[in-house]
């Protein structure tokens, strides 16, 4: 077993060697521009892209023509939301999203608010799921888009996209989902789920960084987005720019592997995740964040009360994980996602996200359990809050010197 151990697969995943192998020729002898229609170099590159398009389409149950390649999920989110806002201005200016969305969605919506959009940010319940009645109540005649993520990046909670899309459609709005954490990890089918637009990226599913997808529905209804990048008219005019052929080929291969191996991989990872979670929950005052039924198989988000996340990560020096604490940021604000669940700031500061992946072994998980337990105990020995808690002091009654 090599140290450190990578348990941050929600941030990014390592490239699968099979993906790398598929990509390599497209850096060297198959280097052509996929838009060069008049010679063999272009045709070979185009073939690679076409094949990748099929591989991607198969994974999410759509046709090849509905795939728009982008530089990643952030660009795809931007293109979807800004593109729909511009294209459907005549119909309305209202967008509904959720407070726990990724910043690529939230900040895009904030940008549109400055341009005249009205945006409703739905709250989530304590388990991270939205309340469908609240969604329905927020829908208006002017609602053009409902954007709700598929699986959350911090807590792994899976929203009921099927019901959400049905509500959106009932009111004549489009349904878009940022499925960055879900595609390749759990079955996602754009038709079964009623998805009109969907953003995702290669590097969260063992593909390369710098390439992503916006799925844009072509039938029932035919969805259009206004291009945000003008130029050569690539990707059916929706996203100009020379195609990242090696990246796209890698994305295609990554999708194919996910499609074939998802079922067994999800089973293996959820068993490992459950083992990790159960063992760490044996620690006093530890809390699992988010709904534990409806969630991605490979994520565990746990708060260890009375220790601070960043300090904790420093003690877990052989583990690469992430924390909802934000001691490094100027604002000192902890994770807005955890706060949206109604977690108190101190619990949000105490959270650690474990993201397992394809290459995580049971030996590594066992090591992580021990290392984390030791770290929590080490820091609790140093923690005045832990001491007070043990003495029965009510921390909420103390007048803290806020700063």
């Amino acid at each position: 077993m090599e140290l450190p151990i990578y348990l941050d697969n929600n941030a990014t995943t390592p490239l699968d060697p099979r993906v790398l192998e598929a990509m390599l020729p497209y850096f060297t002898n198959k280097f052509g521009n996929a838009a060069s229609r008049n010679h063999a170099f272009g045709w070979v590159a185009e073939e690679g892209v076409d094949y990748a398009r099929e591989q991607v389409a198969k994974l999410i149950g759509c046709t090849e023509k509905e795939i728009i390649f982008t530089s990643g999920a952030t660009e795809a989110d931007n293109l979807a939301i800004k593109g729909v806002y511009e294209m459907y201005q005549d119909k309305g200016n209202h967008i509904i999203t959720v407070t726990t969305e990724h910043k690529a969605v939230l900040d895009t919506c904030k940008h549109l608010e400055k341009l005249g959009a009205e945006v409703t940010y739905l709250q989530v319940k304590a388990d991270g799921l939205i309340d469908l009645k609240e969604l329905e109540a927020a829908m208006t005649e002017k609602t053009i888009l409902v954007s709700v993520m598929y699986g959350n990046n911090e807590i792994g909670v899976i929203q009921p996209v099927n019901e959400i899309s049905a509500i959106a459609h009932k009111f004549g709005a489009l349904f878009m989902t940022d499925a960055t954490q879900a595609v390749g990890k759990i079955p996602v089918d754009v038709n079964a789920d009623g998805i009109d637009l969907m953003a995702f990226t290669a590097h969260k599913m063992y593909g390369p960084k710098g390439v992503g997808v916006l799925y844009v529905r072509r039938k029932n209804p035919r969805v259009k987005v206004t291009a945000q990048m003008d130029g050569g008219g690539h990707e059916r005019g929706m996203r100009s720019g020379t195609l990242n052929v090696p990246g796209i080929v890698g994305l295609g291969k990554a999708c194919e592997i996910c499609r074939l191996e998802m079922e067994s991989e999800a089973k293996r990872l959820s068993a490992l995740r459950d083992k990790l979670e159960k063992s760490l929950n044996e620690l006093e005052e530890s809390y699992v964040n988010g709904n534990v039924q409806h969630r991605l198989p490979h994520v565990a988000n746990i708060s260890f009360k009375y220790v601070e996340g960043e300090g904790l990560m420093m003690a877990m020096k052989d583990l690469a994980v992430s924390s909802g604490s934000a001691c490094t940021s100027a604002s000192l604000e902890p994770s807005y996602v955890l706060k949206s669940l109604g977690l108190s700031d101190d619990l949000a500061h105490s959270s650690i996200r474990f993201g397992l992946g394809r290459f995580t072994t049971e030996e590594e998980v066992d090591y992580a359990i021990q290392n984390t337990k030791n770290a929590v105990n080490h820091l609790r020995n140093l923690s005045p809050l832990w001491e007070m808690f043990k003495e029965g002091v009510d921390l909420s009654k103390i007048e803290w010197t806020a700063h």
Binding site: M314, D345, H349, P384
Partner: protein
């Protein structure tokens, strides 16, 4: 962000972790920060009849830099008089631990904890409280 060697040293082998009797007249306690900000430091000093600090203990809830700042503070406090201890400036801690700009607030908190502990001792022993600087973080 990489931590400096000194931060790692203090974090891994924190000096003077512990608790003094906060009700003792010879002990001054400073409890600063807030759980919701992600930093709470408790710094305690034991002071003899000549107003010399003979012992110092800390416990800190916070990041590695906060823990290191308070650990270092306890080392510096021992052997100083309570007047000398007032001269410990947060920038001395920043320099010693090579804290990056985003971690300066950790050193500020340590300075506040020192001053607050000294004040607690002073008030307990009939001395006038010194004026604490306005929190600058």
């Amino acid at each position: 962000m990489a931590y400096s060697e000194k931060v790692i040293d203090h974090y891994t082998n924190p000096r003077n972790v512990g608790t003094l009797n906060k009700d003792s007249k010879t002990v001054g306690t400073g409890l600063v920060g807030a759980p919701e900000c992600g930093d709470v430091m408790r710094l305690q000093i034991e002071v003899d009849e000549n107003h010399m600090i003979t012992d110092a203990k800390f416990k800190t809830f916070g990041c590695g830099s906060a823990i290191a700042s308070s650990s270092l503070a306890t080392e510096w406090l021992k052997g100083k008089s309570i007047d000398e201890a007032l001269s410990i400036d947060n920038m001395d801690i920043v320099e010693e631990l090579a804290l990056p700009p985003v971690k300066i607030h950790c050193s500020v908190l340590a300075e506040d904890a020192i001053k607050s502990a000294i004040n607690d001792y002073r008030v307990k022993n009939g001395l006038e409280a010194i004026e604490l600087p306005k929190s600058h973080h």
